[in-house]
C-alpha cells in the first residue's frame, strides 16, 4: 500500500498548482457519477434538514404535557402518534435528531483533532514523544471500548452532571475511545511521507518545522482524513445511541434517537406502541447507512488505492 501511496503523492507533487484545483473538480465529477454515494448524500442532507428545519414547522414544539393526548396511535394530526406524556413523536424525533447528529459530528471532529494532532506529532518528531503517545494509544486500545464507555457513563451519573451538559460529556467520551485508532493511522502515514523525496527537498531548502508540517505533510493527509472522518460519523452516531439506550449517555428530558428507543424497555410500549421506538431506530439506520455509502464513494474518489 505504501508504494501505491508513493505513486499517488508523487503525482500530486509533480503537478503544477493550476492542475491541483482541477484534480478536485475531477474528483467531484467522479463522485457525481457514483449513484449510491449521491443517494447517500441526499439522504444525509434530508435528515439534517428534517432535524434542524423541520421542528420550525411543527405546532408541537413546546413539549408540554397533554393529558388528553396520551399514547395516541399515528393519525393525521400526529403523524407518528404521541408518547406517554402526550407529546408529538415526530417533533421529538426531529429534536432528538438534532442532538444525535450534533453529537456524531462533534465527537468525530474532536477525535479527528486529537488523533491528527497526536498522530502527526508522534510521526513527525518520533523518539520519546512518539513512544509516549503511542503507548497511551495502545493502552486505550487494549481496554475494551464498551465497558470503558459504560464506566464513563456511570461516572457522569454519579457526579450528577446536569442533563444539559451530558451531551458534551458524551462527545468527549466518544472521542476518548476513537482518537487512538486515528492517531495510529496518521502516524503511519506521516512516517512514510517524511521519507519521500519532496520532504528531503523541504529539508534541503531549510524550511521551518511548521511550514514542513502544515504546507507539505498535512495536505497529503487530507484525502484520507476526509474519508475516515465521514465514516467515523456513522460509528459515533451508533455508539451514542447504544449509550443513550442503556441510560448512560444523553438522558431525558433531552431526547436523542438512542434514548427514545428506551421506550422498548417498557413491555406494553414495546408490544403495543411501536410508533414510540421504531421511528428513531429507523432514523439511526437510515442516517448511518447514508453516511457510510457517501463515505465509501468519497473513498473511491479520493483514496482509490486504499484497501477496503
Amino acid at each position: 500500500m505504501s508504494s501505491m501511496n508513493a505513486e499517488l503523492s508523487v503525482n500530486k507533487q509533480a503537478s503544477p498548482v493550476p492542475v491541483k484545483s482541477s484534480l478536485w473538480k475531477l474528483s467531484v465529477r467522479r463522485l457525481l457519477k457514483n449513484k449510491l454515494a449521491i443517494s447517500g448524500l441526499i439522504v444525509v442532507v434530508f435528515m439534517f434538514a428534517l432535524c434542524f428545519i423541520g421542528p420550525l414547522f411543527s405546532p408541537y414544539t413546546d413539549n408540554k404535557i397533554h393529558m388528553a393526548m396520551m399514547n395516541k396511535a399515528p393519525s393525521l394530526k400526529h403523524w407518528l402518534g404521541t408518547d406517554a406524556l402526550g407529546r408529538d413523536v415526530l417533533t421529538r424525533l426531529m429534536q432528538a435528531g438534532r442532538i444525535s447528529l450534533t453529537v456524531g459530528l462533534a465527537s468525530m471532529l474532536l477525535s479527528l483533532f486529537i488523533g491528527l494532532l497526536l498522530g502527526a506529532i508522534a510521526g513527525y518528531y518520533r523518539g520519546i514523544v512518539d513512544q509516549v503517545i503511542m503507548r497511551v494509544a495502545d493502552l486505550l486500545l487494549t481496554i475494551p471500548g464498551l465497558p470503558l464507555l459504560f464506566i464513563f457513563g456511570a461516572l457522569l451519573s454519579e457526579w450528577k452532571v446536569p442533563t444539559d451538559y451530558r451531551m458534551y460529556m458524551v462527545m468527549l467520551m466518544l472521542s476518548m475511545i476513537n482518537w487512538p485508532g486515528l492517531a495510529r493511522m496518521v502516524r503511519g502515514q506521516m512516517l512514510s511521507l517524511r521519507e519521500r523525496e519532496f520532504m528531503q527537498a523541504a529539508v534541503v531548502l531549510g524550511l521551518r518545522d511548521r511550514r514542513k508540517l502544515f504546507n507539505h505533510l498535512l495536505p497529503n493527509l487530507v484525502p484520507l482524513l476526509i474519508v475516515i472522518a465521514t465514516l467515523n460519523i456513522g460509528g459515533a452516531i451508533l455508539s451514542e445511541s447504544v449509550l443513550s439506550f442503556f441510560g448512560l449517555g444523553v438522558m431525558p428530558p433531552t431526547a436523542t434517537w438512542g434514548n427514545m428507543i428506551d421506550a422498548a424497555n417498557n413491555m406494553i410500549d414495546f408490544q403495543e406502541r411501536p410508533w414510540l421506538w421504531v421511528p428513531p431506530g429507523l432514523s439511526i439506520f437510515a442516517t448511518v447507512i447514508a453516511i457510510n455509502l457517501f463515505g465509501d464513494g468519497l473513498r473511491d474518489v479520493l483514496d482509490p488505492k486504499q484497501k477496503r
Binding site: 465497558p147 464506566i151 428507543i261 411501536p274 439506520f285 477496503r308
Partner: protein
C-alpha cells in the same frame, strides 16, 4: 522471530498491567459500591461488611491485593452472587461461546459465498445489490435490530421465543433440551450474523476481486481449465488465505460474549452477567470480565500477526 516474540510478550505484559491498573482505578472511582446500594442494611452493618470485603482500604492497596490473587489464578469473589468469579465465568462463558461460535460459522460461510459471487460478477446488478446489503448490515444499530426482530418474529408472528435459553420452568433433557436451546438461539444467532456479515463479505469480495485480476488466473483460463475450477481451486484459495489473520481478531468475540445482544435477548452468557453486575457495582466480577476481554484482545492481535507471517512468508516480524 524469537527476539521479536520475546519483546512482544514483554510489551504485552506491561500493557496489560497498565490497563488493569487503569481499569481498577476507574471502577474504584465510580462512587457507590455493592454495599451502599443495599437499603436494608444499617450503617453499622455496612461499615462491618466494608471491613470484611476490604472496601474501606485505599485503592492502590486493593489493587495490589487483587493483582496478587489474580496471579495465583484467583479473580476474587463475586459480591452479588457469593461465588468465585472464575466459577461464574466457567458457568456462563460456554453459553456465550455457543452463541458466538454458531453465528461466526454462519457469518463466514455466508460472507465467503456471497463475496466470491459478487466479486466474480463485479458491477452486475447482483453485485450492486450485495454492496447495498453490505452497507445496510454495517449500519445496523445492534440493539434496535434485536428489538425489532423480537417484536416481529417473536411477539407478532410467534415463530420464535423472544429470549432466554430455555422456556421458563422447562426441565427438558437429552434431545428435547438440545431442540429447545436451538429454538431459543435462532433469533440471537440471526442478529449476530447480520451484524457481522457486512464487513466480512466486503473483505472477501475485495480480496477476490484482487485475486481474479492476477496473471496466474489468466494463465489457468488460457490453459482451458473449467471456469468453476479456476474460481474455486485457484482463486478462492488465494483469496481466503489472508483471512486467517482475522481469526485472531475473532478471539475476544468468541469468548467475551456480546454485551448488547445477550442483554437484549436475555441470554445467560458472560456479557449479560457483566451487564447485571454493572449496576450492582460488583467490582470483582466487572474487573475480571474487563481484564478477560483485554487479555483476549492482546493475545488475539498477537495470533493475527503471527498468522500474517504464516500466510505471507515475505512479511518479516
Amino acid at each position: 522471530m524469537s527476539t521479536y516474540l520475546a519483546k512482544r510478550l514483554v510489551y504485552m505484559v506491561i500493557i496489560l498491567f497498565a490497563a488493569s491498573l487503569l481499569i481498577f482505578c476507574l471502577y474504584a472511582l465510580t462512587p457507590g459500591d455493592f454495599i451502599s446500594g443495599n437499603i436494608k442494611l444499617t450503617p453499622e452493618r455496612k461499615a462491618e461488611l466494608r471491613e470484611i470485603y476490604g472496601l474501606n482500604k485505599p485503592v492502590l492497596e486493593r489493587y495490589a491485593v487483587w493483582m496478587k490473587n489474580a496471579f495465583h489464578g484467583d479473580l476474587g469473589f463475586s459480591l452479588s452472587q457469593q461465588k468465585p468469579v472464575l466459577t461464574l465465568f466457567n458457568q456462563y462463558i460456554w453459553n456465550s461461546f455457543l452463541l458466538a461460535v454458531v453465528s461466526t460459522f454462519f457469518t463466514w460461510l455466508i460472507a465467503v459465498i456471497i463475496g466470491v459471487i459478487a466479486a466474480y460478477k463485479q458491477y452486475s446488478w447482483f453485485d450492486t445489490l450485495v454492496m447495498v446489503a453490505i452497507f445496510a448490515a454495517m449500519s445496523l444499530p445492534s440493539f434496535f435490530i434485536g428489538l425489532f426482530l423480537i417484536k416481529i418474529l417473536a411477539v407478532d408472528w410467534k415463530w420464535l421465543p423472544p429470549g432466554g435459553m430455555l422456556t421458563t420452568g422447562s426441565n427438558a433433557t437429552g434431545l428435547a433440551y438440545v431442540k429447545e436451546v436451538v429454538h431459543h438461539m435462532t433469533l440471537p444467532v440471526i442478529v449476530m450474523t447480520l451484524l457481522g456479515v457486512g464487513s466480512l463479505t466486503r473483505y472477501f469480495r475485495s480480496n477476490m476481486i484482487d485475486v481474479i485480476k492476477q496473471d496466474y488466473i489468466r494463465t489457468a483460463r488460457a490453459k482451458g481449465m473449467k471456469e468453476r475450477k479456476v474460481l474455486f481451486t485457484h482463486a478462492l484459495r488465494n483469496a481466503l488465505l489472508p483471512a486467517i489473520t482475522l481469526v485472531g481478531f475473532e478471539l475476544p468475540a468468541l469468548f467475551g460474549g456480546s454485551l448488547i445482544i445477550e442483554q437484549i435477548f436475555n441470554w445467560p452468557g458472560i456479557g449479560q452477567l457483566y451487564m447485571q453486575s454493572f449496576s450492582l457495582r460488583d467490582y470483582p466480577l466487572l474487573m475480571g470480565f474487563t481484564m478477560l476481554i483485554a487479555v483476549l484482545t492482546v493475545i488475539g492481535t498477537l495470533i493475527s500477526d503471527i498468522l500474517y507471517r504464516v500466510a505471507d512468508p515475505r512479511v518479516r516480524l
